[in-house]
Subunit: 353 residues, 2 copies
């Protein structure tokens, strides 16, 4: 039967995923029929997963990292909140987690799943977490505090060290969501990683800026014991317990994460960050020259205030374009996004806007 073509990336402007690196694609195809969820049976891919975690530790400057390759950032964020909740299960009855308002909607899922209150604090005027506003929401039932390093809507980086202090003053955990930003931030001056601050857990996704194939998210923890509260017995597997949210998992994702990081860490990621950041700044300037309000790109993500009708017209012209909660059009300068694509967007904007 004839099938539609899979998505071409030539018109995708708002996705946080991208075309996998060729080495990542090859590795995914080679390991398609393996299951790191059953490491006793599928030993080769289990070894690769240990390697993936080691490499994620190098990217985030954590020696001897503990963690695993998740199905994506949502699973990693849910699991981090679950760790924070379970750690204080015996002392806190109605747990809450304090997050900045731009925290990803996966934290809303986590709230429903885990019966944890998510308290959202307003941002500062530059769309970053405001430690004072977050402090006002922390109380004796707070089990976790979240910092975002590369926010979904504006690519902003929260003040991670200040939020780590806030968390630890309340005996809560500090979780950093660097799902998207994690493979760009090592080449910036932002303080965001395990060496910059006493971060407890972190989400960093190889299948976003890491250029691995989906599904390859990442969850890391500084202290191995943090994972102990997640362990569930697995009677019929060759291994004996499991801390992951899912059971059977994708060996393709694990293998492609290792292949991408081997190919690109650090020089390839640095080159891509510099290319994308330059391009984002150029695109922002072009938009400003046309009179549009632009949210300044601190990472390669441009949000621009264009009328809803114009966004709709651009979509009808074939651009895969989404909006922020406040209504700006949102362009994520992923590896597949070229200057040629952005010139074409500008031309369509001039014609349709």
């Amino acid at each position: 039967m004839q099938r539609p073509e899979p998505q071409e990336f030539a018109r995708v402007l708002s996705s946080m995923c991208t075309e996998p690196h060729p080495a990542a694609r090859a590795a995914a195809e080679r390991y398609l029929a393996t299951n790191p969820g059953d490491p006793g049976t599928y030993g080769a891919v289990a070894d690769l997963e240990r390697e993936a975690v080691e490499m994620l530790g190098a990217v985030t400057r954590l020696d001897d990292p503990t963690g695993y390759v998740t199905s994506g950032g949502t699973e990693a964020n849910i699991q981090a909140i679950r760790i924070a909740r379970n750690r204080k299960r015996d002392v806190v009855d109605r747990p809450n987690v304090v997050v900045p308002d731009h925290a990803h909607f996966s934290f809303t899922k986590a709230a429903d799943l885990l019966s944890v209150d998510i308290r959202r604090a307003p941002l500062d005027e530059d769309y970053r977490a405001d430690p004072e506003a977050m402090t006002a929401l922390v109380d004796g039932d707070t089990v976790g505090v979240v910092a975002v390093a590369g926010s979904t809507e504006y690519g902003r980086v929260d003040p991670v060290p200040a939020l780590a202090d806030l968390a630890h003053d309340s005996d809560a955990l500090l979780h950093v969501d660097a799902a998207w930003g994690g493979f760009a931030l090592p080449f910036t001056d932002h303080a965001w990683d395990f060496a910059d601050a006493p971060v407890d857990t972190m989400t960093i996704d190889p299948h976003k800026l890491g250029q691995a194939a989906v599904p390859a998210g990442g969850l890391l923890a500084r202290a191995p014991a943090l994972f102990d509260t997640l362990a569930v017995d697995t009677p019929y597997l060759e291994s004996t317990s499991q801390v992951t949210l899912t059971g059977t998992r994708s060996g393709a994702g694990v293998a492609s994460a290792v292949a991408a990081m081997e190919a690109l860490w650090p020089d390839g990621y640095r080159a891509e960050y510099e290319r994308a950041q330059d391009l984002a700044e150029w695109f922002a300037d072009e938009l400003r020259d046309r009179g549009y309000d632009v949210v300044d790109p601190t990472l390669p993500l441009v949000a621009v205030d264009v009328p809803t009708d114009t966004v709709e017209a651009l979509r009808e012209a074939g651009w895969r374009l989404s909006k922020t909660g406040a209504g700006e059009a949102r362009v994520v300068v992923m590896p597949h996004v070229t200057r040629g694509m952005l010139r074409a967007v500008l031309a369509d904007l001039d014609r349709l806007g």
Copy 2:
């Protein structure tokens, strides 16, 4: 860098996954860089997902099915329990779910995640759910009852119609876990599907006996409204809400599920079930002839009581073999398991046992 070979299936005896069908592998490779979690952007794979759900409805005899392709059976089981819990959130304070003792460990994960008590009822003497024992555990806080159609350890099928009555008498939902058995059961006389009983939700995994590539699990519901309690707003996507547990999802899994089901439903799955069931019965007879106790294979899964030392010796000889909770060796006759493999196992058993 030189990499170890990915798992060869020639020695895998206990996995519930298998080598994907060639058409499923090709589709997975083609759709590797798509994300059904963002259907506005990745439209082609979103269409394929609707097709996958339709086909799963055909396999389980449900008209107009609602559901989605999950990361696997664990996500599907967790989500089914979440639906049951959320549906009664306003009336039940300490929800419980009553399951037969052989229910998969994903229900233990669900219990921890969702703060739901999982009450495990003892099985009958044939390793099936005992409706009387389960009735004794149901009370006013019961939000769900689980039936297993193809148990992980012995391949047993619970009395689904009786358990559906039990659930509905208590205004609870009946969830059927057919993660593994779902692509064999249509060719048996068991009563297990949506037409056999008023089943509310079902787990059925294309990436097990369905011969799709990982990750492709399946969750179906009879009433579309059951998914409404899971919906979370998604401000920055082109779509506006999401009911899945994960966010970014694998287009490879979705596309390969459709390709496998198109290639194999129903005749290919029937032929494979008949081959595997014959082989399981032959293998069970061979083991009995050698004096071993065998749990009779009602589906293509053989559990045999061999001493622990012998299981260890078989593992050292290279067989990927796991044990049941009671200690039997467990051979799952998946599509990659041939008579030649089982003859070789028997020869090793004769030599080592």
